[in-house]
């Protein structure tokens, strides 16, 4: 009797806890995301489908997943999956053969490209933006103007209060509170952080030296006790939304999804610009002239020209995100599948962009078509 009672209690408890865990996991799975999430639909046809394994950057992932869904509807014999791994992990797995196509926010570094010259291609597929977001009680839907120099001083810990004269002078119409700024950055090494720190360096080189540029820089404000690192974009968004008087940077799509305040940033022409499809395209157009003419070229410097570009309407915190592709695929079927995907993105994908991203300019779409042709040519079709 005693044992039966014990068993019954244990089973009921286990069921309750599994139920709670599943509920918590589903809430968190959609929020925190990242780290090995993969989505594949089951094949609908009886003949064996071709599988294309993609993975990498989380920055463009919402757009890629939307594209993949539409592409697979039109091409039922091709199954594409995209794993959220991070740019670094995506590129490593591409080179060790686990992935067919890698998504990477930064282009391949020069030395890596040289090592694989002629065997690897890169195409910029999207223009994304990093936004500066803040949470100031009472001012959350007022647009603040911020400049690279002021942001550099905030992230250095030099500007400590919201009503510092250097911030106030950029926002004469807004009464800023006298409260310490809680500074949020990324806990993990990330492409978004690289874009943000590259921007700080280009906008204020004497304040933000190149030693502080990188995926995981040592932010000087970190030691002050009023800074924290969030895990991934959702982590930063969560920290900013939970801590009043905080400032942070996230991808534009996350800020839109969570209805967060977005600052207007001073661009190279001196105008304060908020991100919009137009301001992103304007930045992309002026940077496109510095891209290589062929997908086989060296893209390693392309972020330098698109971050803090010229153009009076350009939003300064913009970046390309790339797909890294092989020239030679092991089977004709795979080569044809990858080529079809690239052509689809160039022709249809770029016309259907979800909020938070902008399409690449026309001349850049040509790179995708050229890459597709190179793959087909190498496969002999």
């Amino acid at each position: 009797m005693r044992d039966a009672l014990r068993i019954v209690v244990a089973v009921i408890t286990a069921l309750i806890i599994v139920g709670i865990a599943a509920a918590v996991a589903s809430v968190f799975g959609s929020g925190i995301g990242g780290g090995g999430n993969s989505r594949t639909l089951k094949p609908a046809t009886t003949s064996s489908p071709t599988y294309v394994k993609m993975g990498g950057a989380t920055f463009p992932a919402p757009q890629y997943l939307a594209w993949i869904k539409s592409f697979m509807r039109e091409h039922p014999s091709i199954r594409v999956s995209y794993e959220l791994l991070g740019s670094g992990a995506g590129v490593s797995r591409f080179f060790d053969g686990t992935l067919d196509v890698a998504g990477s926010d930064p282009p391949l570094p020069h030395d890596v490209w040289v090592k694989h010259e002629g065997k690897v291609m890169q195409v910029p597929t999207l223009v994304g933006a990093v936004v500066v977001t803040y949470n100031i009680p009472g001012l959350n839907h007022v647009t603040l103007n911020l400049s690279g120099k002021v942001l550099a001083l905030i992230y250095k810990g030099v500007i400590k209060y919201w009503d510092d004269p250097r911030i106030q002078e950029l926002n004469p119409a807004v009464k800023l509170p006298h409260h310490e700024i809680f500074v949020v950055f990324r806990a993990d090494a990330s492409g978004t952080q690289l874009i943000f720190t590259t921007f700080l360096h280009k906008a204020a080189p004497s304040t933000w030296p190149s030693t502080l540029v990188g995926k995981a820089p040592a932010f000087p404000v970190a030691g002050s006790g009023r800074a924290a690192g969030g895990k991934g974009n959702p982590g930063v968004a969560n920290l900013v939304m939970s801590n009043p008087y905080s400032i942070g940077f996230v991808e534009w799509s996350y800020a839109l999804e969570n209805n967060m305040s977005i600052a207007a940033i001073e661009n190279a022409a001196g105008n304060f610009v908020k991100p919009s499809t137009e301001s992103l395209i304007s930045a992309a157009r002026s940077a496109a002239k510095h891209l290589p003419r062929t997908p086989l070229g060296d893209f390693s410097k392309d972020e330098e020209y698109i971050i803090y570009p010229g153009g009076k309407d350009a939003y300064p915190l913009v970046a390309w995100t790339h797909l890294v592709i092989r020239v030679n695929y092991e089977s004709q079927a795979k080569a044809r599948a990858v080529a079809a995907l690239l052509k689809w993105i160039a022709e249809k994908g770029e016309l259907n962009i979800i909020p938070g991203y902008a399409p690449v300019p026309e001349n850049v779409r040509q790179l995708m078509v050229e890459a597709a042709n190179n793959i087909l040519h190498a496969a002999g079709s």
């Binding site: 806890i17 709670i20 918590v24 740019s87 502080l212 030691g223 006790g225 690192g229």
Partner: protein, 293 residues
């Protein structure tokens, strides 16, 4: 002979583990030496790797977790065994034992959602106000994402496990001791005190295992600790632990030369600290056993 195989397999596994860790870590120790463990500078861009803040963070959060979990689990064991009506006690003990066997990440995720703001307003601010003269509480809590929150979260995660270990030991004390104590009309409090004294090795064992679990938690901690490379001279500061450092940096470790090696080296340091603690604990337990006979 076939019984030798599983033991040999386990030993082989540990040897391979140590070899892998050593293989990756040695370049870092060769290059940085003791400064790897003593330096506070973690700047991958300039190839400076120092894990002192992370190591101190692991120590502080694990010790805080054990300091909270041990009294709570011991009190729970005593209450359920001596004061609670037996039906309720059996149900609660069974439920908690089952909870102790669950992956603690389940509690970690819940805690990450709920704890930071709650702890800050209701615990950290009063502690700083009234006990601010004590060094661990001396800094004003700006946000809820701190070492303190991580310590409390870890305590929540290890308490059911520690409870189940001590409870089992408590329940296995031979009936004759209880009968002897009852014969001299000992109050429940006295019975509990005598039993705990007898069980001290088990309590230490539970403490060490709980500490080990706390030191190894990664994702749950990284969600609440603040992820900032800061030395924990005060509990209300954001910081990090070695596990959260590794979890945060591992995916992109290939972007920096030596970063992967540095992370493996940090894991090796954690392994060594854990081994030292466990050996000390086992030595303590065997000494107690020889004293109590």
């Amino acid at each position: 002979m076939t019984l030798l195989a599983p033991s040999a397999l386990v030993i082989a596994f540990y040897v391979l583990l140590v070899r892998l860790l050593a293989g990756y870590s040695i370049p870092v120790f060769r290059r940085y030496g003791a400064s790897f463990v003593l330096s506070s500078v973690w700047n991958p861009g300039s190839a400076s790797y120092g894990i002192l803040p992370a190591l101190m963070g692991t120590a502080v959060t694990s010790v805080l977790a054990a300091a909270i979990a041990l009294p709570v689990s011991l009190s729970m064991v005593v209450f359920l065994n001596e004061y609670c009506p037996s039906i309720v006690a059996r149900v609660v003990a069974s439920v908690t034992t089952v909870m102790g066997g669950l992956p603690s990440i389940v509690y970690g995720l819940w805690g990450a959602l709920v704890l930071p703001e709650l702890l800050r307003s209701y615990v950290m601010v009063p502690l700083h106000k009234y006990l601010g003269f004590l060094p661990p509480f001396s800094c004003a809590p700006v946000s809820g994402w701190t070492f303190f929150t991580a310590g409390v979260l870890l305590a929540i995660m290890i308490t059911p496990y520690m409870f189940s270990l001590v409870h089992e030991a408590y329940a296995s004390v031979p009936r004759k001791y209880r009968e002897a104590l009852l014969a001299i009309s000992a109050r429940p409090y006295v019975i509990a005190r005598e039993f705990i004294k007898m069980l001290w090795p088990a309590v230490i064992g539970a403490l060490l295992l709980g500490l080990g679990r706390a030191a190894g938690e990664t994702i749950a901690v990284s969600l609440v600790v603040g992820n900032v490379n800061a030395v924990p001279y005060c509990l209300f500061l954001p910081g990090q632990t070695i596990s959260s450092l590794i979890a945060n940096n591992f995916p992109e470790a290939s972007s920096y030369p030596l970063m992967l090696n540095a992370l493996y080296a940090a894991a090796s340091v954690l392994l060594v600290v854990g081994m030292v603690l466990n050996i000390a604990g086992l030595a303590l337990m065997s000494r107690w056993r020889s004293i109590t006979g």
